[in-house]
Symmetry: C2
């Protein structure tokens, strides 16, 4: 096997085209075997095998810098840069992360996982190269789907006037996670149809040099094009047409569902686990919204290229019709557009993963909240319990959202509350609302949830004394367990379901004062700037003690859910122990 | 005077072209008189007089919705929508804000002041129109400078596939605040040069219909074009060429300095106040960086279209040469590019107003901090003491920045500390650093500032007991005064200059515990998610009382600096009073 012998990409330079082609086959085979057992990003990696080989043949990494946008398609790059065993040796599958990772290799420049950043980062590397008098190449590798993100478009525009060398490889497989959205994609199609000759050319419109490679899965053609691009004295786009999922029939056909996959049976393509379980909040959301859309034609669900986050699979999108909008990778536009919809009497529901919501801090603040636009934002994957790579973890949304004026950030604890909050938010027209989805799979409490969330009023689930536990959202069950453990020790604590993250129910908090010595706060996110600190400030000038439980402010690179909870003293026994120590 | 008789834009419909032309002259005259006495945005308003008249002649506001991007160029729109007296009657000059304001008029849909939002907002209005079965027109009016912002580019792309009516009026005056930046502007020039016929057309590349009006200051030509656009069944760009500052010679020539102006002498054009005083942090920053750039060619200053925020006037930009980058209105690209520069050995300093920094929450988190890129961000206008319209106020940066992992957010209190922090940040290569500029004009403390800010260590300015005052950044002088007032009452308080916003000096905080009953925190920003709450959490499980002083979480629409400080009990006498009450 050639692949396993590749310890450094420079080895490729001595290989014949034929050998490179064999290598590519081996890479695809390794990918198939690993992903069938392990799961991961499928389609884009299968499409970019040849381009990655050609890049490493043509350039000298790590002196030359190759930046993979999002970096979910950098598996092949990892194989060629000293990490082949993580793809060929089952016992080493977990030795590498699914994204570019500087701690793994000097061939990876950035930890990244959000889209549309590569051109900006590459521009910076190129600028520093010129300032420091070096002469290396910088190559941004960006998929067509990522092109529509504001950060990428801003960078393409600036690249058009940048006076140095820069290569932008556009890997065009005619797909985002789902189908592409936006007018520019008609133009890309025209370019593919005319083999790069169409006059309507978005890259030239940004002032960039332009080259087209129709055979984006042909190593020879790619090497030829890249060798020419290498000589270009100013920023140049190399637009290559590739086939998403190439080499594995099911993935070539069902491109959306094979963007990323759970483990599967290679022969049949059948998944061993389904991605969204029946009891996922994603499915619940889509089904509920579809039901409501039938009766109310002004309800509209929005996504920025991740429709299944809220359960909107292709069939459901078709049912929703004009009441479903996918703006493509363009979070800023999604949220600002939602504000416009809300201002003119529509009822927009924007579903987004916590990590991608970060793109819209200003839109949330200005376009939505400054205008009190009644937009509903449903924040998925906003829980440490969901688990995720450091590049996608959702533990920062409480400080990000809850300190924006006018926004009601709500934390349901169960299915019933979630749906009640969603319905209330859709039906009211006064407040911008965000709802923090508590974990991934829902639990049914069986209780009837409150219908109105206009006024911030915590729910006192059980009244006690000495200790009050304010257990927010997904961490409510931890609070319940602590209460039980305390009760076993003869302490009847007060258990509160706060539900409101961004406001204080000062009346309830005042009432706790006389007969509670300690107030415990529990939140599913970092503590800094969060819910607990607001409570600590409230009680700052009093004898009431406040202990805040949540996560440390950090980027957790490697963790297990169990481990990180323990490390942060977020298990019921640990909290119970702390409370006992105070009450002694 | 026709202008004063205009109470509603429908009155324009009965006017002849000649009368409309007279009206335009009166509008320009009123603008000149008001701005000479009052100051405000000059160039863009002078350029857009005729287009505003034509818009209101052609469309039926408020049924039809006209959304002015940034809205600093909506003065003429205000004149024609019932607010003429605010431009013709000196005593009413302050009756209107400088931006579109729904509380002033039903002709203003959004409170706005950040660039590049109009197309998204308009798309939302158009979508809601279609969902609710209405038939009004929606028009986004966007300047060429705003086109480069990610939010606008995302929206143009989505507009290219939007299946409803939408008009995008591109007001092309070949200028941002300073000159435009980015490859697309060469394309716009080509379009102007060929009267819209060039094949290289960014709007068509986004899939939009396109019309060009060369005489963008000719009411007749504009009405004709808009009347055609009105019949277009899908999104159409009407690209008009206008003259920034048109009708006032000094502003036609010196377009950058006349973008916005202080009061001036109409005859000579001479300003009655200079914009950046000699003791401004802006001038200090530019001069200091220019000095350092001479000795170190890897230092590079970045701006997103607001070079003078850090004092980089045209002459200074010329001196800096390749060590100054203006990426145009494109904050996301500016910061991500800075991260790339830092990763490859350059020393980037990004200067930005607090309010515009909001555009880069995700870039700060992912592109910079997740990668520990040693980028220096200097946060200007991040003080309530600067005063500003609600659309530009800088009181939210503490919760926004200080809760992002890995970022050192520093708060200098004087010139000496500011420069020491700036130098330290530039010279180190471990931390992403942001510096909160304390107000606008600097004070010299005369003290030698610490050189190293790697380790979070507060400065104990004077040691006392009973009360400790942690007075952050621009609010340090309030802390000093409180200490003096307490001393006059026989209480010797401890005064601390914390300097570090995003970290806790737990050693110093621990030391305060035994002999201090109360800890006071003072911060120049909203309290929620801020510095004081972190301190309150720290002392949560102890007898130490904590009182946090800062601003309420809100969007302050109308306020005076004195008034808002008093309202939030941020004056020294109020704080002293509170402390006395606790110590009793």
């Amino acid at each position: 096997m050639i692949l396993e012998s590749i310890k450094h990409p420079r080895q490729l330079k001595e290989m014949s085209l034929e050998a490179l082609s064999t290598l590519a086959s081996e890479m695809r085979e390794a990918l198939l075997k690993k992903l069938s057992a392990h799961g991961g990003h499928f389609g884009s990696n299968f499409g970019i095998v040849e381009a990655t080989v050609a890049l490493h043949y043509t350039f000298d990494s790590p002196k030359d810098k190759i930046i993979f946008d999002v970096s979910h398609q950098s598996y092949c790059h990892k194989m060629l840069t000293g990490r082949a065993l993580a793809f060929t040796d089952e016992s080493k599958y977990d030795d590498v992360s699914g994204y570019s990772a500087p701690y793994e290799s000097e061939h990876d420049m950035f930890t990244m996982g959000h889209t549309s950043t590569s051109v900006s980062l590459a521009l910076g590397l190129a600028k520093a190269r010129d300032l420091t008098g070096k002469d290396n190449h910088v190559i941004a590798v960006i998929g067509d789907g990522s092109l529509s993100g504001g950060e990428a478009l801003e960078a393409l525009n600036y690249a058009g006037e940048f006076d140095g060398r820069l290569i932008i490889l556009v890997n065009d497989n005619d797909m985002s996670i789902a189908e592409n959205h936006g007018g520019m994609y008609l133009g890309l199609k025209e370019l593919r149809d005319t083999k790069g000759k169409a006059q309507n050319n978005i890259f030239k419109a940004f002032g960039l040099e332009y080259m087209y490679v129709d055979e984006g899965n042909d190593i020879g053609a790619l090497i030829e094009a890249l060798s020419i691009a290498k000589t270009c004295s100013r920023p140049v786009v190399v637009h290559i047409r590739t086939k998403k999922g190439m080499g594995y029939a099911p993935a070539e056909i069902e491109r959306e569902s094979w963007h990323a996959t759970a483990p599967f049976d290679i022969k049949t393509g059948e998944r061993l686990f389904s991605k969204n379980s029946d009891i996922s909040y994603a499915n619940l959301t889509a089904l509920h919204l579809l039901e409501r859309m039938k009766a109310d034609k002004t309800i509209v669900s929005l996504t920025a290229a991740t429709p299944t986050v809220a359960g909107f699979t292709k069939d459901r999108r078709d049912i929703a019709g004009k009441q479903f909008i996918d703006v493509g990778i363009a979070e800023e536009n999604a949220l600002a557009m939602a504000s416009g919809i809300a201002k003119a009497g529509g009822k927009p529901v924007w579903a987004v993963n916590s990590t991608f919501l970060q793109r819209t801090y200003d839109q949330m603040s200005h376009d939505v909240c400054l205008n009190s636009s009644p937009v509903t934002t449903v924040v998925f994957a906003s829980s440490i319990l969901c688990g995720s790579d450091v590049t996608h973890i959702g533990i920062y949304d409480i400080p990000m959202l809850s300190n924006i004026p006018n926004l009601k950030y709500l934390a349901p604890t169960c299915k019933e509350e979630y749906l009640a909050m969603l319905d209330w938010s859709i039906d009211q027209d006064k407040y911008p609302v965000a709802i923090k989805v508590p974990g991934k799979d829902f639990t049914e409490s069986g209780r009837v949830a409150r219908a109105d969330y206009s006024k911030c009023e915590y729910e006192i689930v059980s009244a006690g004394s000495e200790v009050a536990i304010l257990a927010l959202g997904a961490f409510f069950p931890i609070g319940e367990t602590v209460c039980e453990e305390l009760l076993a020790r003869g302490i009847k604590a007060t258990l509160i379901n706060p539900m409101f993250i961004s406001e204080l129910d000062t009346r309830t908090l005042e009432k706790l004062r006389p007969n509670h010595k300690v107030v415990i706060t529990l939140e599913d996110g970092i503590l800094d700037g969060g819910f607990g600190e607001r409570i600590a400030r409230f009680y700052g000038n009093s004898d009431t003690r406040v202990l805040c439980y949540g996560l440390k402010k950090e980027f957790p690179f490697k963790y297990t859910i169990e481990g990180i909870l323990k490390e942060n003293r977020l298990t019921a026994p640990q909290i119970t122990e702390d409370i006992e120590a105070i009450l002694k």
